[in-house]
C-alpha cells in the first residue's frame, strides 16, 4: 500500500491520488464544456465560450495554489480553473441557462464571466485585461496586511496587447507584489494570430523588460505547468515578487458560440491540434507510470458524466431570475 501511494517519478511532490484528481478535474472541465456547447447548439444556452484545450494548463496552475487561501482573477476561458478553485458544474449550468442560482452574477452577465467570493474568485467583466490591474490591487492588499496569500490572474495572448496588461506588470514588478500573471496563449485572439499581436516569439520574452522572472511552458503538459506555477507561487509567497508565466495552449473550439474558426484556420491546423489533445496526453502519461490502471480513465469519465447529468437536472429545474430583482444591487441596499 505504501508503495502504491508513493509519488511516481513524473512529479516528486504529488501523490497518486492528487494525480488522479488532476486528471479527473481535466475530464470534468472538458465534459462540462462539451455539454454547454451542446446546450448552445440546442438553442437552450444563448451563449457559450469554450476552454477546451486549456484544461492541462489550468489544472497545473490550480494545483499550485492553496484552495480557500489564495485568490484567482480569471478570464473567460477558465472553466476548469474556477472548478479547481471550488466552483461546481451546477454553478456553470445555472449560468448557461440563465438561472437565478448562477453564483457568478445571478444571470446578469453572459456565461463565462466568473466570480465567487466564497471561492476567492474575483468578479470579472468582458473588457480584456482590465482584470490584470485588479489582481495587482489584490496583491497590494495581501502585501500591505502582511498575508502570505498569492493571487493568479489569467488572460489570453491577445490581452497582452492591452495597456492595462502593461501597466499591471510594470506596477507589480516595481512593488514586488505576490501575483502570477498567467497567459494562456492559444495562438489566436478570435481570428487574429499571434504574429499580428506581437513581434516576439513568446509572451514571456517581455518579462525582462518588466524586470520580472518569466517562463514559457508547454500548456498541454499538466505537470510541466504545475512545476512552473509552483515555482512562481513559492516566489510570490516568500515575498520575492511577481512572475509572468506563459502556457502555450491550443484552442480546440472556436472563440465563442458566435464564431467559426474553420473560416480562418486551415483543416490541417485544426486536425493537428486535435492529435495533441492535452487530456489524451495526460491519460497516456498517467497510464504509463501506473497511476491510472486499465479502465480507470473510463470510470473517471463515467463518473464525471453522472455529475454533469445531475447538475443539469438541477439547472433544468431551477427558476429564472425574478424580474423584480433586475433593479437591485446597483448600490449597497438598506
Amino acid at each position: 500500500m505504501a508503495v502504491s501511494e508513493s509519488a511516481p517519478a513524473i512529479a516528486a511532490d504529488l501523490t497518486q491520488d492528487q494525480l488522479r484528481s488532476m486528471y479527473r478535474d481535466m475530464v470534468l472541465g472538458r465534459l462540462l464544456d462539451e455539454r454547454i456547447l451542446v446546450l448552445n447548439r440546442q438553442g437552450r444556452a444563448p451563449f457559450a465560450i469554450s476552454g477546451q484545450g486549456h484544461e492541462a494548463a489550468q489544472v497545473g496552475v490550480g494545483y499550485a495554489l492553496r484552495r480557500g487561501h489564495d485568490w484567482l482573477v480569471p478570464y473567460y476561458r477558465d472553466l476548469t480553473l474556477v472548478m479547481v478553485m471550488g466552483m461546481e458544474p451546477r454553478d456553470h449550468l445555472m449560468a448557461s441557462l440563465g438561472r437565478a442560482l448562477d453564483p457568478n452574477s445571478g444571470a446578469r452577465q453572459m456565461p463565462g464571466h466568473y466570480g465567487s467570493r466564497a471561492h476567492n474568485i474575483v468578479t470579472t467583466g468582458s473588457p480584456v485585461a482590465t482584470q490584470i490591474l485588479h489582481a495587482v490591487g489584490v496583491a497590494t492588499a495581501f502585501k500591505y496586511r502582511g498575508e502570505d496569500k498569492v493571487v493568479v490572474t489569467s488572460v489570453g495572448e491577445g490581452g497582452t496587447s492591452e495597456g492595462d496588461w502593461h501597466e499591471g506588470l510594470n506596477w507589480a514588478a516595481v512593488h514586488r507584489l505576490p501575483v502570477i500573471f498567467l497567459v494562456e496563449n492559444n495562438s489566436y485572439a478570435i481570428s487574429v494570430p499571434q504574429s499580428r499581436q506581437m513581434a516576439v516569439a513568446h509572451v514571456a520574452d517581455r518579462g525582462p523588460g518588466y524586470g520580472m522572472p518569466s517562463a514559457t511552458v508547454d500548456g498541454g503538459d499538466c505537470l510541466a505547468v504545475y512545476a512552473a506555477a509552483l515555482e512562481a507561487v513559492e516566489r510570490a509567497r516568500r515575498g520575492d515578487g511577481p512572475t509572468l508565466l506563459e502556457a502555450v495552449c491550443m484552442r480546440l473550439q472556436s472563440h465563442s458560440s458566435d464564431d467559426d474558426q474553420r473560416r480562418y484556420r486551415s483543416p490541417d491546423d485544426l486536425a493537428q491540434m486535435r492529435e495533441h489533445d492535452p487530456l489524451e496526453r495526460f491519460r497516456r502519461q498517467l497510464e504509463g507510470v501506473g497511476v491510472l490502471a486499465e479502465g480507470d480513465a473510463d470510470t473517471i469519465r463515467k463518473d464525471c458524466q453522472r455529475v454533469i447529468e445531475a447538475a443539469q437536472a438541477e439547472a433544468d429545474a431551477a427558476a429564472p431570475p425574478d424580474p423584480a430583482t433586475a433593479l437591485r444591487h446597483v448600490y449597497q441596499e438598506g
Binding site: W71, V73, D102, P103, N104, S105, G106, R108, Q109, H113, G115, S116, R117, V122, T123, G125, S126, P127, T130, I132, L133, H134, A135, V136, G137, V138, A139, T140, A141, F142, K143, Y144, G163, D164, E167, G168, N170, W171, V174, H175, R328, H329, V330, Y331, Q332, E333
Partner: protein, 329 residues
C-alpha cells in the same frame, strides 16, 4: 473651530481617516514625498509611510484599476488622479469595472473606493485645455457611481469622510480654484456631510439658482447684487451630482417658480439638463418661467489666454445677467 483652506480640509480629512481606519490608503502620482501637486496629501507620506501613501507609476488606468483590486480585497483606497483632464485612460476601469462590480456580481462583491481629482479652470487658473476641464457629466451618467463636488472647506472635509466610508465607488472632484482662495471654519474631528444631500447656500423667495462647485461662489456674488435691488435669489448648492437631491431641487423650484441652473462644465447634455428635466417634470404647474441654463459654451475646454478664457467662464456678471433676464420674465 479652525479657519482652514479647502485643500487643508481635504488633507485633514485624509489624515484623520487614515489614523482612524488602517484600511485606508492613498495612491497616485506624486502623492508621496511631494505631497501631491496641490499639496492635498502633504505630510501623509511622513506619517504613514510608502506602503500607505503610494507613489504610483504614471498610469491612470492602473491607479484606478489597482485601487479597485485593493477595494475587492477589503481595503479602502483613495486614488488621486492628478488632474481630471487625465482621467480618460481610466474610464474603462471606472465605467466598466468599478461602477458595475456590485451589480454584475449580484451583490456578491463591492467596490468601496474614492477617486479624487482636481477639476475646473477659470480666468486665473491658466490651466488651458488639459488642466481645467469639468467632466462630471461623464460620470454622473453612470449608475453605480456617486459623484461629489464640494464647494466649501467644511463640505470638502465632511463629504470626503463620507466618501471614504461609502460602500460604493465615489468620484470626488475638487475645483482647483477653491484650493487656496477660500478659508473657512471647518469642524474638527467627526464631521460627516451626507452624500446626496444639497445645501441651501442662500435663502431667497424670487428666483432659484441651482449650481455646485466653484460656481456656487459666483452665484452667491450675483445673488448679492440682485439683492441690492430687492430681488431675493435662493442659491442651492447641489454638493452631489449623482445622486441628485431631487427633493431639494423640487422644493426650491416650487418655492420661487423661476429656476436657473448653472455650471462651469459644457452646457449641452450636462448636469444642468438633468436638473432642468426634473424641474420640468415635477414642477410644471408651479413654474412662472421656462427653466434657464447657463454653462460652458460649445468649445472643447477653457483656452489659455485670459481674453479667450473669459469667453468660456461664467463669473458673477454672466450669472447676474441671466438671473435678471429670468427675473424680468
Amino acid at each position: 473651530m479652525a479657519q482652514i483652506t479647502y485643500v487643508e480640509a481635504i488633507r485633514g480629512a485624509l489624515e484623520e481617516e487614515m489614523r482612524r481606519d488602517d484600511r485606508v490608503l492613498v495612491m497616485g502620482e506624486d502623492v508621496g514625498a511631494k505631497g501631491g501637486v496641490f499639496g492635498a496629501t502633504a505630510g501623509l507620506f511622513a506619517e504613514f509611510g510608502e506602503e500607505r501613501v503610494i507613489d504610483t507609476p504614471l498610469a491612470e488606468a492602473a491607479i484606478v484599476g489597482v485601487s479597485i483590486g485593493c477595494a475587492l480585497a477589503g481595503l479602502r483606497p483613495v486614488a488621486e488622479i492628478q488632474f481630471l483632464d487625465f482621467i480618460p485612460p481610466a474610464m474603462d476601469q471606472i465605467i466598466n469595472e468599478a461602477a458595475k462590480i456590485r451589480y454584475r456580481s449580484n451583490g456578491d462583491w463591492s467596490c468601496p473606493m474614492v477617486i479624487r481629482a482636481p477639476c475646473g479652470g477659470g480666468v486665473h487658473v491658466h490651466g488651458a485645455l488639459y488642466h481645467s476641464q469639468s467632466l462630471e457629466a461623464l460620470f454622473a451618467h453612470v449608475p453605480g457611481l456617486k459623484v461629489v463636488i464640494p464647494s466649501t472647506p467644511a463640505d470638502a472635509k465632511g463629504l470626503l469622510l463620507s466618501a471614504i466610508r461609502d460602500p460604493d465607488p465615489v468620484c470626488f472632484f475638487e475645483h482647483k480654484a477653491l484650493y487656496r482662495s477660500l478659508r473657512d471654519e471647518v469642524p474638527e474631528g467627526e464631521h460627516l456631510v451626507p452624500i446626496g444631500k444639497s445645501r441651501v447656500a442662500r435663502e431667497g423667495t424670487d428666483l432659484s439658482c441651482i449650481t455646485y462647485g466653484a460656481t456656487v461662489h459666483e452665484a452667491l456674488a450675483a445673488a448679492e447684487r440682485l439683492g441690492q435691488d430687492g430681488i431675493e435669489v435662493e442659491v442651492l448648492d447641489l454638493r452631489t451630482v449623482r445622486p441628485l437631491d431631487r427633493e431639494a431641487i423640487i422644493a426650491t423650484a416650487r418655492k420661487t417658480g423661476k429656476v436657473l441652473v448653472c455650471h462651469e462644465a459644457n452646457l449641452a447634455v450636462g448636469v444642468g439638463a438633468e436638473v432642468a428635466a426634473i424641474v420640468a417634470e415635477e414642477c410644471f404647474q408651479q413654474l412662472d418661467a421656462p427653466v434657464m441654463r447657463l454653462g460652458g459654451p460649445e468649445v472643447p475646454a477653457i483656452p489659455f489666454a485670459e481674453p479667450l478664457a473669459e469667453v468660456y467662464c461664467l463669473g458673477p456678471e454672466k450669472i447676474e445677467a441671466k438671473l435678471r433676464q429670468l427675473a424680468a420674465y
